[in-house]
Amino acid sequence: MAQTITQKILAAHCGRESVEPGELINAGTDLVLGNDITAPIAIREFEKIGAPTVFDKNKVALVPDHSTPNKDIKSAELTKILREFARKHGIVNYFEVGRMGVEHTLIPDEGLVLPGDLVIGADSHTCTYGALGAFSSGVGSTDMAAAMALGEVWLKVPEAIKFVYSGKLREWVSGKDLILYTIGRIGVDGALYCSMEFTGETISAITMADRFTMCNMAIEAGGKNGIVEPDDKTLEYVNPRAQREYKVYRSDPDAVYRDVVEIDCSRLEPQVAFPHLPENTKPVSEAVDVRIDQAVIGSCTNGRIEDLRSAAKVIRGRKVHPDVRLLVIPATQEIFLQAIKEGLTEIFVEAGGAVSTPTCGPCLGGHMGVLAEGERSIATTNRNFVGRMGHVKSEVYLSNPAVAAASAVLGRIGSPEELDGVDK
């Protein structure tokens, strides 16, 4: 039977030749992940299950990244639960502040996810790792607890939607714009329960960073997973990091898709998602006189070195607008260090921006950049729901890093091209 890459990975993890959309399966997990918000509940439920220890201490990852460095006493108590659990059970992949990163950038960079893997994480953006040709999906804390105990998870085999991207991208257009445009086209529930398979010549041409960004936001269209078939670029990223065997799967040419969506990218402008849903996307040229108070560059969506380079290219030699707070958050310590070596950190600081240690902080309105009533932020993050970054009457606009950087200089949402006339 012809199958999609997602079907093949799921079948391999439940000892079957093939699986059909709609079937409920119990699948083995290659990695089970949680953070400082979701893992404390998972640990509580794990204790209730009564397993003596985790199914495999090498296959559980705990990343305190949401409220870290600890934002208050209650958060400090939560991260302490992770730390103590990690020590008690000898969890190898526990990442302490100073050696950590935003989980969905850190985990693949550490080589903990490889092509063909099945990964679940108690965080909705776990779908990021589909960029490696793995099946990865966000679940809840109790799922994480059961998977830590049993090494398996119940899953419904998803139907798949194939997205075919063609055409060469214009300058300043990135994977973020492709995924924002796609969500704008199909809606925030356009891929509900489905696998989103990203294909086509444009996907082959973009970087791994861009592919991670696209898969990261599959959940914003309701998707169960986002996935890209591995190619040379994937293997170039994976091979130096892999410490075990992996398997590359590809969709059969006659695999069945619920829909095929074709997108011509050649004329696409950078996209901006207006409040309060990621589907409210418009080309940046249609963002007219949208004044901003803050610009956030970072998160599991756009905190990679490629993202920082793009922002730095725009901001180099310019100053952040007097009315704007620019926050730049490298996604991992390694990326932070690389940004220092390349002089990017200096560019941001000289421009009047604040550069912080890795944290999810402002993306979810946790800390390190919370908005007041009536304030507005452009952000390279993934959600612009009501109150997402702070006060219920604040607003978030989503964009790529270059547009966020240009907007920080302009004081309003705008494209890097608009800076051509602005003095350095």
Partner: protein, 165 residues
């Protein structure tokens, strides 16, 4: 049998408005419940009574994987959530923690805020006692029925662990 008043909302009720991140520094269900739906309907927590039902339209519970969302709804005394469709992580979280949820677009269309609702979870029958009309929710697949019968995934995992030992 579940019986309570309906609280009705629209589409894309996301987990950030169900339980804003500023309250995610606790895992205590009772404390989380005091902030349930705060950024969507600040009056909800003062008007909800044990047994009440939340009715949403499309894609209920979209966004974050935070299990705090179904936990705070359950701890607020809500007996069931009915919607046209649920976001997938909210759906599995609800089944996993034993919060009853039903997909039933006909019931959503036929229920107004304040209506008195009676639900038989065993059959999936939803009766609107205010209008006298009744509806049938989409039945759950066998595995999910088993999860619901066991009271959630923790008990399922316990059973499986014992069987395997």
């Amino acid at each position: 049998m579940i019986k309570g008043r309906a609280h009705k909302y629209g589409s894309n009720v996301d987990t950030d408005v169900i339980i804003p991140a500023r309250y995610l520094n606790t895992t205590d269900p009772a404390e989380l419940a005091t902030h349930c739906l705060e950024d969507l309907d600040p009056a909800f927590i003062s008007k909800v009574h044990p047994g009440d039902v939340i009715v949403g339209e499309d894609n209920f519970g979209c966004g974050s994987s935070r299990e705090h969302a179904p936990i705070c709804i359950k701890a607020a005394g809500v007996s069931c959530v009915i919607a046209n469709s649920f976001a997938r992580i909210f759906y599995r979280n609800s089944l996993n923690i034993g919060l009853p949820i039903l997909e039933c677009p006909d019931a959503v269309a036929g229920i107004s805020a304040g209506d008195e609702i009676e639900i038989d979870l065993a059959t999936g029958r939803i009766a609107n006692l205010t209008t006298g009309k009744s509806y049938s929710a989409k039945p759950f697949p066998e595995f999910m029925r088993k999860l619901i019968e066991l009271g959630g995934l923790v008990n399922y995992a316990k059973t499986k662990l014992t069987a395997g030992a």
